[in-house]
């Protein structure tokens, strides 16, 4: 890795042991600042588990995780909260707070940040406009469709202008048009500032030419890491990858 491109994420020997088996087994991975990495693999490969570890929502059984240069296992609550102010997250299965409306959910990451409530609400409304959520500020999450909830989650993940965005299940709940629009929003964020993206999906082509690198997980192990072009080159020779990613040998 070059000196001018510090790592946004470094995983070294990460294990996670769940229910008597290694759900993640010795993951070593580095993601450079500004890089877009897609974690691909079939259901149950360990993608969501890995994103939870990266976000500090679970503790690994072994190994080291450094996010934006900080070893997250050594951080106290205050330092972790400061680090989380630099990270955005969209979680699989949804994580909006049901008792709060859309606007209040969007304001959650801005709590504790400087700025009056009116200014923060203006920023939240701007984020809603960008993600076509206008008029929904007073609705509760249960009143929204799955796709709308995902867009609210994305707005919440981006509202505090994070350096790193972790998105579990990139196209979950999104129709093709919404997925395209969402990717457009992400591209705009990338152009306006150096946003690092770590996304998971079953489809290795979902990010298109925006993807810098693909990492393929199978049964808790990284079985491939490389550029999308390298993956395409490897597929004819790698029967296992073809089966995992294309559903055919």
């Amino acid at each position: 890795m070059s000196v001018d491109k510090p790592a946004a994420l470094e995983l070294a020997g990460v294990f996670q042991h769940v229910g008597g088996r290694a759900a993640l087994a010795g993951i070593d991975l580095s993601v450079a600042s500004g890089e877009w990495l897609l974690l691909a693999g079939p259901n149950g490969a360990g993608k969501s588990l890995l994103t939870r570890l990266i976000l500090g929502l679970d503790t690994p059984s072994a190994g080291t995780i450094r996010v934006l240069g900080q070893d997250i296992q050594s951080l106290g609550w205050g330092a972790m909260a400061r680090l989380r102010a630099r990270v955005g997250a969209v979680l699989q299965g949804g994580s909006l707070v049901a008792s709060l409306n859309v606007l209040e959910n969007l304001l959650l990451p801005l709590r504790g940040l400087p700025g009056g409530r009116d200014r923060l609400a203006r920023e939240a409304r701007l984020a809603m406009t960008v993600l076509q959520l206008d008029g929904m500020e007073n609705l509760r999450p249960r009143s929204l469709s799955l796709g709308q909830r995902r867009r609210v989650e994305l707005a919440r993940a981006l509202i505090h202008r994070p350096e790193l965005l972790v998105w579990d299940g990139l196209t979950d709940g999104l129709d093709p048009a919404a997925a395209r629009d969402t990717l457009q929003v992400l591209r705009a964020q990338r152009e306006s500032r150096k946003l690092t993206l770590i996304a998971t999906d079953n489809d290795p082509d979902v990010l298109g030419d925006a993807c810098d690198r693909v990492a393929v997980l199978e049964r808790g192990r990284l079985v491939f890491t490389g550029t999308p072009a390298e993956l395409e080159t490897a597929l004819p020779q790698r029967l296992d990858l073809r089966y995992l990613l294309r559903g055919r040998a």
Binding site: G19, D58, S61, W77, R84, P109
Partner: protein
């Protein structure tokens, strides 16, 4: 590559606070919850944090106003029961001052705090445990954490404050209703004069007693909130655990109230 089991890795726990370390972890969480809430309240007083007013109002409604009719009815019934029992004693022993003194003391120092504690546990405590458990099960806690929000401060902070406030108010209100009901009974049946009743009230308590009588329900409210937080968090991600969290909170809170009462009596009275 060696398997995780070969190199002695432990399982990630599916549900927290289980097994031999569960008690220690639970006590640890209770300590963290208390510290977190106290920090929040100090920050609010210093103007560095805002009280979540909608959540506080909802908690006040849940732990207070919605319980008021029930607690008033229970207090009136208890007052009438005490009045009837006192009537029997007065018919056997013609020592009205002494009998009223002991009844008054028992009501304010023991009966009302325990009664208020149990009702607050049944309403606000169980509701808090269910809310905590549901937040965890639905992944909302993950959303809060990922957004840099302390879930304990977010959920317990406003509720604990509401429970403390309502426990204090209920202690005063329940005492008044119980006394009124007991007095009415005795006035009608054995013609106890109001002056004698008020005199017994005035002589029964020192300032220290009154402080203890007010502090006890607030201590119980604190214990209830901590027990509810532990049980709500212990539900993990299993939806079936939500009901279990409610049951465990009720049982744990009642046990804790009685044990804490005993400890307070032993500490204060020796």
């Amino acid at each position: 590559m060696a398997s995780p089991r070969d190199i002695g890795l432990s399982d990630a726990p599916d549900r927290p606070f289980h097994g031999p370390r569960g008690w220690v972890e639970g006590v640890g969480l209770a300590g963290l919850t208390l510290a977190s809430c106290l920090t929040l309240y100090v920050q609010i007083l210093l103007g560095r944090a805002r009280l979540d007013l909608p959540a506080f109002a909802a908690a006040l409604r849940q732990s207070g106003l919605s319980v008021l009719p029930a607690i008033t009815l229970v207090a009136a019934a208890v007052g009438a029961i005490l009045g009837r029992q006192t009537q029997t004693i007065l018919e056997q022993f013609d020592l009205p001052s002494l009998v009223l003194l002991s009844v008054t003391y028992g009501v304010v120092m023991e009966l009302v705090p325990i009664l208020v504690g149990i009702l607050v546990a049944g309403r606000a405590g169980v509701a808090l445990a269910v809310r905590q458990a549901t937040l965890t099960v639905n992944g909302e806690v993950d959303g809060l954490l990922a957004s840099g929000v302390d879930p304990i401060r977010f959920t317990v902070g406003p509720v604990l404050l509401a429970m403390l406030l309502m426990s204090f108010s209920f202690a005063v209100w329940t005492s008044l209703v119980t006394f009124a009901a007991a007095f009415l009974w005795l006035w009608v049946t054995v013609k106890i004069p109001p002056a004698l009743f008020l005199d017994s009230l005035a002589r029964a308590f020192s300032p220290g007693d009154l402080l203890e009588a007010i502090a006890k329900p607030m201590l119980f409210a604190l214990l209830i909130a901590l027990i509810a937080t532990i049980n709500g968090t212990a539900a993990g991600r299993d939806p079936l655990s939500v009901g279990e969290a409610a049951t465990r909170t009720m049982i744990g809170a009642v046990a804790a109230i009685l044990l804490a009462d005993l400890v307070v009596i032993l500490l204060v009275r020796g």
